[in-house]
């Protein structure tokens, strides 16, 4: 898959995953309202928005963890909620927010769970599964921890193990719910580099919910902003990540400047110098 697909064919990028007028929520409470989103193939799509804006709810609805109260999510043209769940799992993987592994589980055992949809009572562990698990651990750079308990690793290493698990599922589409939360900035950047590589080099489609604005701006191919359950704007970072958009969506007064190295936009909150400092 060429990585420039998004830029060259802006009108109708090829897409296997789309939300059509989706509303959803918990119990009777509607959180996401009438969201329509076409996820470009082989690209890194990032969902951002203030807390409670519905970005995670939208992701969970696309992943069929939550039902859609209205509208539908289409995977390869078929409603994902009506497709046999194992069949979906062979094409689309999900890394939930803040996953926890059972005490004592080893890294290789965790990654091996990614093979679940490819196995059955009749067809248990195969050579193909072993190859996929090794390849996934290699790609996520956790092979050196294979025999260690997941709980012994640092936050960033642990998160890479979970990424390896969804990689072992070998799906073209991967959804990740706030994979960088609670990680140091350096570790966040490393994880996002890994995700970008997966999208651009392996041609997989990634949808990631993020919290950190500048990390989103640095890595997104398509940036989607949500507020109060609605989709406010979407587009390439250059056009979507503007001071106006940040003010509207986050209520954040910020200057958006170009990063001198990559040329991508970066936001800097506008803070007037404190009076005490100004007086000196």
């Amino acid at each position: 898959m060429p990585t420039s697909a998004l830029r060259t064919s802006q009108v109708a990028p090829p897409s296997r995953l789309a939300a059509e007028d989706v509303s959803s929520g918990y119990g009777g409470k509607v959180i996401v309202r009438d969201v329509t989103l076409t996820v470009p193939d082989a690209a890194l799509t990032v969902l951002i928005g203030p807390n409670g804006c519905g970005k995670s709810t939208l992701l969970k609805t696309m992943a069929r963890v939550l039902p859609a109260s209205a509208g539908q999510v289409l995977l390869d043209g078929r409603p994902v909620h009506d497709t046999p769940t194992r069949n979906v799992a062979k094409r689309m993987a999900l890394l939930p927010q803040g996953p926890t592994a059972p005490e004592g589980l080893r890294v290789r055992e965790l990654v091996a769970q990614g093979r679940f949809p490819h196995q059955s009572l009749m067809r248990q562990w195969s050579r193909e599964d072993a190859r996929a698990v090794e390849a996934a651990m290699e790609a996520a750079d956790v092979a050196q921890f294979a025999g260690r308990p997941v709980s012994e690793l640092s936050g960033g290493q642990r998160q890479r193990c979970w990424v390896a698990m969804v990689l072992a599922q070998e799906t073209d589409i991967i959804l990740l719910d706030e994979p960088t939360t609670f990680l140091d900035l350096k570790v966040q950047v490393e994880l996002m580099k890994l995700l970008r590589r997966i999208a651009h080099e392996d041609g997989r489609t990634l949808v990631v919910v993020l919290h950190e604005l500048n990390v989103a701006a640095a890595f997104a191919d398509l940036l989607v902003m949500m507020k109060d359950g609605r989709l406010v704007s979407q587009g390439p970072v250059e056009t979507a990540f503007t001071a106006e958009a940040l003010a509207e969506v986050f209520g954040l007064e910020a200057s958006v400047v170009a990063d001198p190295v990559s040329g991508r936009p970066v936001c800097v909150p506008i803070v007037a110098p404190s009076l005490a400092v100004a007086a000196q």
């Binding site: 993987a93 890394l95 996953p99 290789r108």
Partner: protein, 336 residues
């Protein structure tokens, strides 16, 4: 070590299960040989292979000791597998038929049934126990989901404790009101393998078999569910169906063991945790090893129950509780 981590056909892969089964058989033979009169292992083998009705030792072995050993094997395996499944599905290290109130629910139902109908048909006892266990499970689940914060490991355990205290009090009250009927149930209610329920055994076996078959079949999915519900959905699992299946299995296993031996506490807590230390978190290994280790564990506990204060015999359930309570405390400190 998981199955995945072991090279195929390695010596370890088959030698360990063989050694496990051998250890179980040894415990089984030892259990039969121990008693008021110690019978040599050779005679035990002889009685099982070439039974001689005129040999008094053979009669003792086959009529008295063999059923008791079988009870220990069946109840130990059933409760351990039930505990393992409950811990995996609820992601609660303290989940177990006893702690979550299923044993007392099943026992209470049996007590009422036997108390009301003087000639309670043994065929119905496992069914009555299953209804009691299910009612208790639903009640405990209901109480803990209604609690602020929902069904956490802590609220589940507290709800189980409440049900256990409540039904325990009712059983004691009934006991005081009608001592005659309860004379027979008194020992059973402490968890006993002393063999009064031989008539129930054939009726408990189908429940036990069904529970074990479901448990073995669902093991792979329980491993994946232990990663969390959203992860399991992402992996393509039908979580609702799996939970229903596991509930059926746990209820059947609990009902069968209560029908045979009364409420045998803590077996389902101790054994799966010990097994996980050795085989890891893969339930395709945890479930069969829990069955094997649970059977061996209860055999050894029952030997201790008969030997500790010989010739006086302690109820087996009391010994499992004596061993289980400290482990329970350790788990609260280490895991909750």
């Amino acid at each position: 070590m998981s199955v995945a981590a072991l090279p195929r056909g390695s010596l370890f892969a088959w030698a360990v299960p063989v050694a496990g089964v051998a250890a179980l058989l040894l415990a089984f033979g030892w259990h039969i040989s121990v008693g008021a009169k110690t019978i040599p292992l050779g005679t035990v083998m002889e009685a099982l292979v070439a039974y001689d009705a005129t040999n008094f030792d053979h009669v003792v072995i086959v009529d008295l000791r063999l059923p008791r050993a079988l009870f220990a094997v069946l109840v130990g395996a059933a409760l351990s597998v039930a505990g393992a499944l409950m811990q995996g599905v609820t992601r609660n290290p303290l989940a177990e038929p006893g702690i979550l109130g299923l044993l007392i629910g099943a026992s209470f139902a049996v007590v009422v049934f036997v108390g009301v109908f003087d000639l309670a048909p043994p065929a119905l006892i496992p069914l009555v126990a299953a209804i009691g266990a299910l009612a208790a499970a639903v009640t405990v689940w209901g109480i803990s989901t209604a609690a602020p914060g929902g069904a956490t490991p802590l609220t589940l355990v507290l709800a189980g404790a409440a049900i256990t205290a409540f039904l325990g009090a009712l059983i004691t009250a009934a006991n005081l009101l009608d001592e005659e009927t309860f004379e027979e149930l008194r020992v059973w209610l402490t968890g006993s393998l002393a063999g009064r329920r031989l008539d129930v055994l054939p009726w408990a076996l189908p429940w036990l078999a069904a529970g074990l078959v479901i448990a073995f079949g669902a093991a792979r999915q329980v491993t994946a569910l232990a990663m969390g519900e959203e992860t399991a959905v992402g992996l393509g699992m039908n979580v609702g169906r799996l939970k229903a299946l596991v509930l059926v299995s746990v209820i059947a296993l609990t009902a069968a063991s209560v029908a045979i031996a009364g409420p045998m506490g803590f077996v389902g807590l101790v054994v799966p945790h010990a097994v996980r230390l050795f085989v890891g978190q893969d339930y395709r290994l945890v479930v069969p090893w829990s069955a094997l280790a649970g059977a061996a564990y209860l055999l050894v506990v029952d030997i201790a129950a008969r030997m500790a204060l010989a010739p006086v015999e302690i109820s087996t359930g009391l010994v499992t509780a004596l061993l289980g309570a400290p482990i329970f405390v350790w788990l609260i400190r280490a895991r909750l």
